[in-house]
Structure formats: C-alpha cells, structure tokens
C-alpha cells in the first residue's frame, strides 16, 4: 500500500484536536442562542467545556460493564470517520463507519437493564434507520456527479457540488438534524426539558463515559458539517459558511418546533428526504445524458 505521508497524519492529528473544540464552541453557541430565543440569558460560551472537564473528573460509577466498551467504540468510530474525512477518503466507507458508531451507542443503551436507556436505544436505532439511507444515497449521488466516492474529487470539480446536488444537500441537512437530535427529530435523547424519557439513550451514562458520549457528539457534528462543506469546497470559507448557516437554521428549527414521534421521523425520512435525493439523481441522469 502507499504509505500515508507525514503531513496527512499531521492533518488528521490536528483535526482530532480541533474538531472537539469546534464542536464544543458550536454547542456553546447553540445553548446561548436557544436561551435567548427562550428569553433567558444562557450559559457562557465555554460552558460545554467546563461541563466536560467536570464530568471527566467524577468518580467512575457504572450500571453496566459492557456499556463502557461500547462507549469506547462509539467514540473511536466517530473519530475514525473524522480521520477519513480529513484524508479526503471514501465517502461510502465514512458513512458506513459513522453508522457503526451509532450502532455502538445503541448497544451501549441496550446493555443496561434500565427502562429509560432501553427506550432511548430503541429510538436511537430508529434514528439510525432514518439516517442511514439518506447518508448512503448522498454518497451515491455524490458519485454520480463526481465519478468517484473519494471526497477529494469534490475539490477537483469546476462547479461546486451544490449546483448539481441541491436536493441532496437538503437531504443531508435533514440527516444532520436527526444526528444532532434537533427538534422535531430529538426522539432518542434531548438537551431540552420536554424529553419525557429522562435522558434517553444516555440515561445510564455518568462521569467520564457521559463525557465521552458528549465528545463523540462533537466529533459527529464536525464530520457532518464537514460533509456539508464539501458542497462548496473552493474556496473553503464558502463551504464552512454554508455548513454554519445550515446549523443555525437547525437551531432555529429546534426551538420553533415540538418533538414528534419516531414513526413520523422514519416516515418523513424514508419518503420526503429519500425522494428528494432520488429526484436529484434522476435530474442528474437526464441532464447528463
């Protein structure tokens, strides 16, 4: 195999350090914005980091031993998918690994005999069922436009991906909303108080394992925003702006809508989001003929 050049490794290392910082800052921003929308002052921007540090310092207590392995797996898989994105590697592989990261979280939830965690895991599985087709179809639509599954080929395009795949972009934003648990898709666990299942899939996590799940969330957020940035990678700031605007829109949506049922989520995803991407693909076929 071609050995991975040193600067690529450096890039990956840098990304693994920077991504949680970005993710944490975005989460902080999310909390402030949400608070303002609700007429509160909100926490300081760095509050998520304070929380995380505090969690890491807590005495480790567990309600299930196996759960810890799955949380480790969850975090490691999410980090791997970030590594793939930074190396501009295969998007299909990235999607599959990101999917398996979610599987680890679901199994962590199932591992405990706790009603809340169990329900949360069940619903997280439904989130997975809703997201997986969108992400896989996005990768295929990406291939149809660029002729390759490698993320690097988006950089070589003359016109940005967004011009060819506007509906796929919308589909990806829906997947982002599900993965980041924004209303109306926050069925498995939520940062809002209206969640009736205590803390859903993360109910039984505490201390450093809760911190690791949170960290994985930040990584995941960065990966998904990175995928959105691929829609306009040259110049990169436009892509980053696109990602940030999409995320802001989701925060607004989060506060403007109520949590709906998982059935509604699966139906919406499999009908609306999937057909949007498929329409986009049909359009590409017709235009490219």
């Amino acid at each position: 195999m071609n050995s991975i050049p040193f600067d690529t490794l450096l890039k990956v290392a840098l990304a693994l350090v920077l991504a949680p910082i970005c993710g944490g800052l975005l989460t902080g921003l999310d909390r402030i914005l949400t608070a303002r929308l609700q007429g509160r002052l909100g926490p300081p921007l760095l509050q998520p980091f304070f929380d995380l540090i505090k969690l890491f310092g807590k005495e480790p207590i567990t309600s299930n031993r196996l759960q810890r392995a799955f949380i480790w797996g969850h975090l490691a898989m999410t980090m791997t998918s970030l590594g793939l994105l930074v190396m501009l590697d295969d998007l299909l592989a990235l999607t599959i690994i990101l999917g398996f990261a979610s599987v680890c979280l679901v199994l962590a939830g199932f591992a405990v005999r706790s009603p809340y965690s169990y329900f949360g895991a069940q619903r997280e599985l439904m989130v997975l069922l809703s997201c997986e087709p969108i992400l896989l179809l996005f990768a295929i639509a990406y291939y149809l436009d660029t002729g390759s599954f490698l993320a690097s080929s988006a950089l070589a395009l003359k016109t940005p991906l967004l011009a060819a795949l506007p509906l796929a972009y919308l589909g990806l934003v829906v997947a982002l909303a599900m993965k980041t648990r924004k209303s109306p898709f926050d069925v498995s666990t939520s940062h809002h108080a209206h969640q009736e299942l205590v803390k859903g899939v993360t109910t039984e996590l505490s201390g450093r394992y809760l911190a690791m799940a949170e960290l994985a969330q930040w990584y995941e957020l960065t990966v998904l925003l990175g995928l959105i940035a691929l829609f306009w990678p040259r110049p990169l700031w436009v892509g980053v702006l696109l990602a940030l605007v999409s995320y802001l829109a989701l925060i607004l949506l989060d506060n403007a809508s109520a949590r709906l049922t998982w059935r509604w989520m699966v139906r919406t995803s499999w009908s609306v989001a999937v057909s949007a991407i498929v329409l986009n693909m049909i359009g590409l076929y017709i235009l490219r003929r």
């Binding site: 195999m1 071609n2 005495e59 480790p60 207590i61 567990t62 309600s63 299930n64 031993r65 196996l66 810890r68 392995a69 799955f70 480790w72 797996g73 975090l75 490691a76 898989m77 791997t80 295969d90 998007l91 299909l92 592989a93 599959i96 690994i97 999917g99 398996f100 599987v103 680890c104 679901v106 199994l107 939830g109 199932f110 591992a111 405990v112 005999r113 706790s114 009603p115 809340y116 169990y118 895991a121 997975l128 069922l129 087709p133 896989l136 179809l137 295929i140 291939y143 149809l144 390759s148 599954f149 490698l150 205590v198 109910t203 039984e204 499999w270 999937v274 498929v278 693909m281 076929y285």
Partner: protein
C-alpha cells in the same frame, strides 16, 4: 496426487463415509468415520487449492459407464420423488416429477449415446472457492452435528438412534455439492443438482414429525420446479447445439436462435435452489430440521448451489436487458426479506430471511457483471458461508440449552451463557460491522452498483440496495441488544463448558471470521481476483486496503480501531472493578433487584421486550405481495430473454 483421484475423493469419499455411518451402528466407529472424513475433505480442498486450475476429461470408457450410472440414479431419484408424491397425495409433486421423468427419457433416447461434453470437469478459481467453502465449513458442521445430534436425540427421548441415517444424507450432500461445482457436463451437473434436492428432502424430514414431513414436501416440490426448468434448459440446448457443456452455454448464449432462454431457465432453477421469492417458503420451513441441517443448507450447500450457477451464467447475461431485470429482482428480494426479518422474533427465521436477502444481493451483483460487482458476489459468498455457519451453530447450541429459539427468550443471555453469547454476538456483528467480510462485500457492492451501465436500472437498484442495507442493520442490532442486556450487579458465573464437538467448530469459524477480516487483501489476491475470470481491472488489494476504481477502504486501521476500542475492553471486562450501581428508576428501585415500587407500593418486576414491526398479519401480507411481485419479475425476465 493424480487429479482424477483428487476429484474422486472429493465426490465419492463422503458417499462412502456416509454409507459406512449408515451400516455400522456402533457409535464410536461412527464418530471416528465422521472425524476422519471431515479431515480428509478439508485436506482435499486444500490440495485442490494448491493444484490450481485444471481441466479433466474422463476417458471414454469410464465416462460412458459413469453416464450409465448417473442415468440409472437420475431415474431412481425421480421415481422416488414420484412415489413420494403419490404416497403423500401431492399432485404438484407428482406432476413435477413426471415433468422431469418424461423429458429425461426423451433426452436419454435422443442423446444418450452422444459423447459427453468436454471437458467433464473444469476446476477454475470459482470452483476452488466453492470447494473450500463446502468442505471446510461443511465439514465443521458435520463435526458439530456429532454432539448436537446426541443432545437432540436425548431431548426427543429416542430409544433407537436415527443418527446413521442422518449422517448418511449429511455426508452424501457434501459429495453431491462437490460434484455440482466441479462438473462442466450439464448432465452430470443435473444429476448432482437432483441429488442435493433429494438429500435436502431427507434431512428436512429427518425428525419424522407431521410438520417436518409437510415442510420437507414443500422443499421438494419447490426444488422440483427448479429441476423441471433445469431439464427444459438441457432440452433446448440439446436441440440447438447438441452440446451440453456449461462453458459453451455461457460462451455462446446470446448468439443462438433461442437467445437467452436456456440461461433464463437455468436461472429459474437457481432461484428455486437459493430460495428466492417466491420460493422463500421452503427455506423458512427447513428450520424444523435439526440445526446442523439448517447450518448446512444456509452456509455451504444447497442455497449456495443456486448462486454458484448464477455466478457461472453471469458472463452470458452481461449487458442484456435480462441481466438488468435479474439485478432488480435480486435487489427486490434483499429489501423484502430484510423487512420481513424485522418482524420476526424467531431467531432462525431472522437468520433464514437474512440468508435469502444476502443471496439476493449476490444474485444482483452477479447479474450486474462488472469486475467490481462479481468480486462483491464472490466475497459475499465466502463470508456469508462462514458467518451464517457460525450463527446457526451457536443458535443451535443455545437452543439445545434454553429450549427455545425465540429472541425474546435470549433476553440477558450473556448472564447465563457468556461464551455462546459472545460467539453469537460476534457472528451477528460480522454481518453488519466494518471491516468484517460481509460488510466489506456490501461496500464493494455499493461502489459497483451505481456504475451499472443501463442507468434506468442502476437507480432503482441503488435505491433498493441502500434501503435493504439500512434495514439489515436494525434487525441485527435489535437481536444483539436483547442478548447483551444485563443487570448491573451480578455474581460472576463461570463460562459454560461444552463438548469439544461444539467448541472446536465454533471457535474455528470465529477465528476465521476475525482472521479473514484482517487478511482480506491476501484473500482477494489469492482467491477472489483469479475467480473473476478476467483481469482485475477496477479492483486491487493493497496491503492494508481494498481499492476500487472509484473508492478505497482501509481495512487494517479499521480493524485496529475495532480491536483496541471495542473487542479488547469487552473481553477484559472481568478484571475491571469500578463501582456498580443499579439502573435509574426514578428512585423507586428495590435494592439491587431488577424490580421497582409500582402502584400502591407493590413490587413489580422489571421486564423488557424487543420491538417487532407489524404483526403476523402484516408479515403474511408483505410476503403475499412480494410473492406476486417476485413472480411478475420472473415473468418479465422470461419475456425479455426471448
């Protein structure tokens, strides 16, 4: 060793060993025969792999006698089927066996004296792959059966063991499969094809209960449909070219006046063997048989014979509309069976639906027939055999302990049977987690499908494949979740002790699952790429990655991540002492018990249940509709093949 001897050992030694098992009714001798035969078959498969590709034509004298023998046996088997039909008053079975007896007589009368197709035997890399699967996985299943059948008969309370009969058919089955994948002469292939149907029928009805007899009969008539189609294809070929060679068929299929019709008929035979919709019923019914039978049918024999034939025919359908229709059909089967698996709470049904779905995926990949997609098909054939063999054997071992095959009864199984749970969990993970083989094959398939030539077909196939993959994850994870759900505070139980005939096959296949995930690149280079029968353009295996023309998957880093962060912590758990607390129940917990204070402070035990989509009615409706659509797709395929 001489090539002829090697082939003879592969095909005839299991038959001899089977007869020995049937005749000698002494248990230790039987076990010794099975063990020796299993080792012999594995060694032969290894030798064949070392020999590499070769062709073999039987000398006219031997060939003629062989043909005589198989003709007699053909008629014997068909007459047996006919009498089964008469005895069970099953009109369909009677008609279908007559539908083969008459054409076979015509065929033998018209071409009986013609020299057989040359060469008689072709050993290429695809055949070697199949031989390795059949003899390694199949032999391990036979070993497993030694202990399993003891448990099984003990459970049934039999006074007189029926194992001699069981092992006879089990071993003959392996011999027939070996013959099937080696034969180039279609008359020989047809004989082995019918022999597998026969063995399958005998094994399914082994327990001789009413249900077993019914389901065996269903398996029989469904496979006889395939047999009729097979024979019709032979008749057509005989009329058209006078040659009955498999290789000639694939080389000149499109050119003749009948076009793809023989190929289409053989495909239909393959679909029935592989239990594709609308033939799914027989494989689902087959689980009434003892577990080794299911393990064998699902992993290394029977259903794999169908996809093997499809892989052989793939070259002939390349680029045709027929190929596109078959690809859509395969993708359709993948989706409906995955959805059906969501609704099942019976572990063996879930495994059966998953098998049918994966076979659909293999058929889809073969029909697309690009380098990438055929590689995906071969990879999936290998890995599916290993993972499914492992899963069936572990579920069987669980069943003989807990007395149930319901997933709901496996709730918290980890506390009771840690070793069997670990095996089942890893087996299930190998069906859905990167970088295990099944998922890697799926990844290659996903990369291959959107590049399929006819774009009007590529889009629906991609969509179906994506949906199928997503649903697949859900039913596996649901099941794993049920087994691993454990109480926070519990006493450490010792790992269960099983007999060596259980443990050795399970451990070996488990090692194979993990090792082949690590060694997927050498596997690609040694077996998969040569078996494609074309230059490996568009696909290459690096040291640590697989690269396609449109993407790449680094397997080693993935494996390291998986091992370091998931497997090792999971295995090391016992040593770790972190303070344990019971789960949160709004402060209504009762001590460390899995219970809580309910209404009027009454204690209430905490119970969990899995979630199954739909109900029995929904599933039967789904299967009715998919049967209709499946038949429609098959009709369309016949229509476009003309």
């Amino acid at each position: 060793m001489n090539h002829t001897h090697l082939i003879a050992l592969l095909v005839l030694s299991p038959v001899a060993a089977g007869l020995l098992c049937a005749l000698i009714r002494v248990r230790p001798l039987r076990i010794a025969t099975i063990v020796i035969e299993a080792l012999l078959l594995m060694a032969c498969a290894g030798l064949l792999f070392r020999e590499g590709a070769f062709e073999l034509t039987l000398d006219p004298e031997v060939g003629h006698r062989g043909r005589m023998a198989i003709t007699v046996l053909d008629f014997a088997i068909l007459l047996y089927f006919f009498f089964v039909g008469v005895a069970r008053r099953h009109l369909l079975a009677i008609l279908l066996s007559l539908g083969q007896l008459v054409p076979l007589a015509v065929l033998e009368l018209s071409w009986g004296n013609a020299p057989g197709a040359t060469p008689t035997v072709i050993v290429d890399h695809l055949a070697i792959v199949m031989i390795l699967i059949i003899n390694v996985v199949g032999s391990l299943i036979c070993l497993y059966a030694v202990s399993y059948m003891d448990d099984h008969e003990h459970h049934l309370g039999l006074t007189r063991s029926r194992q001699p009969r069981f092992f006879l058919w089990l071993l003959v089955f392996l011999g027939a499969m070996n013959g099937l994948v080696l034969a180039n002469d279609l008359l020989w292939l047809y004989f082995f094809w019918e022999t597998t149907t026969f063995c399958c029928y005998q094994l399914i009805r082994h327990d001789a209960t009413a249900l077993a007899e019914t389901n065996a009969l269903r398996a029989l008539w469904m496979n006889l449909v395939g047999g009729v189609a097979f024979l019709a294809a032979l008749m057509l070929m005989g009329i058209r070219t006078g040659s009955l060679g498999l290789r000639e068929l694939t080389a000149q299929a499109v050119a003749g006046p009948l076009g793809l019709l023989p190929v289409c008929l053989l495909s239909l035979a393959a679909f029935s063997k592989s239990a594709q919709v609308p033939f799914q019923g027989w494989l689902l019914g087959a689980m009434v048989a003892p577990t080794p039978v299911s393990a064998l049918l699902h992993s290394s024999t029977m259903v794999k014979a169908g996809v093997y034939l499809i892989l052989r025919l793939a070259g002939a359908v390349s680029g045709s509309v027929f190929g596109a229709v078959v690809a859509i059909y395969g993708a359709f089967v993948l989706v409906v069976t995955s959805v059906a698996a969501l609704m099942r709470s019976n572990a063996k049904s879930v495994l059966a639906y998953s098998t049918i779905g994966n076979l659909g995926l293999i058929i889809l990949c073969a029909a697309i027939n690009t380098t990438l997609s055929v590689a995906a098909a071969v990879l999936l054939t290998i890995f599916h055999a290993i993972s499914k063999g492992l899963l069936f054997m572990s579920v069987g071992a669980i069943e003989s302990r807990i007395g149930s095959r319901e997933i709901e009864d496996m709730d918290g199984l980890l506390e009771r049977y840690p070793w069997l749970t670990a095996v089942t969990t890893l087996g299930a993970l190998s069906m859905l987690a990167p970088p295990f083989g099944v998922l890697m094959s799926k990844w290659v398939a996903l990369e291959a499908v959107p590049g399929f030539g006819p774009k009007t077909a590529a889009l629906p196939i991609s969509l179906l494949l994506v949906c199928g993959s997503a649903v697949t994850i859900v039913f596996w994870v649901k099941w794993i979740g049920r087994m691993l759900s454990t109480r926070p505070v519990r006493e450490q139980k010792p790992i269960e002790k099983l007999s060596v005939f259980y443990n050795a096959p399970l451990a070996l296949l488990l090692v194979a699952v993990i090792a082949l995930a690590a060694l997927i690149s050498p596997l690609m280079k040694l077996l998969v790429l040569p078996s494609l029968g074309r230059g490996g353009a568009g696909l290459s295996a690096g040291f640590a990655s697989i690269e396609t023309s449109v993407g790449a998957f680094s397997t080693w880093p993935m494996l390291v991540v998986l091992g370091v962060f998931l497997l090792i912590p999971a295995l090391m758990l016992r040593r770790n002492h972190i303070k344990a607390r019971s789960a949160y129940m709004c402060g209504e917990n009762i001590g460390d018990q899995p219970a809580f204070h309910s209404l009027a402070d009454q204690p209430q035990e905490l119970r969990f249940g899995g979630f199954y989509f739909g109900q029995v009615k929904t599933e039967s409706r789904l299967m009715t509709w998919s049967t209709i659509i499946g038949v429609l797709l098959l009709v369309i395929s016949f229509w476009v093949a003309q």
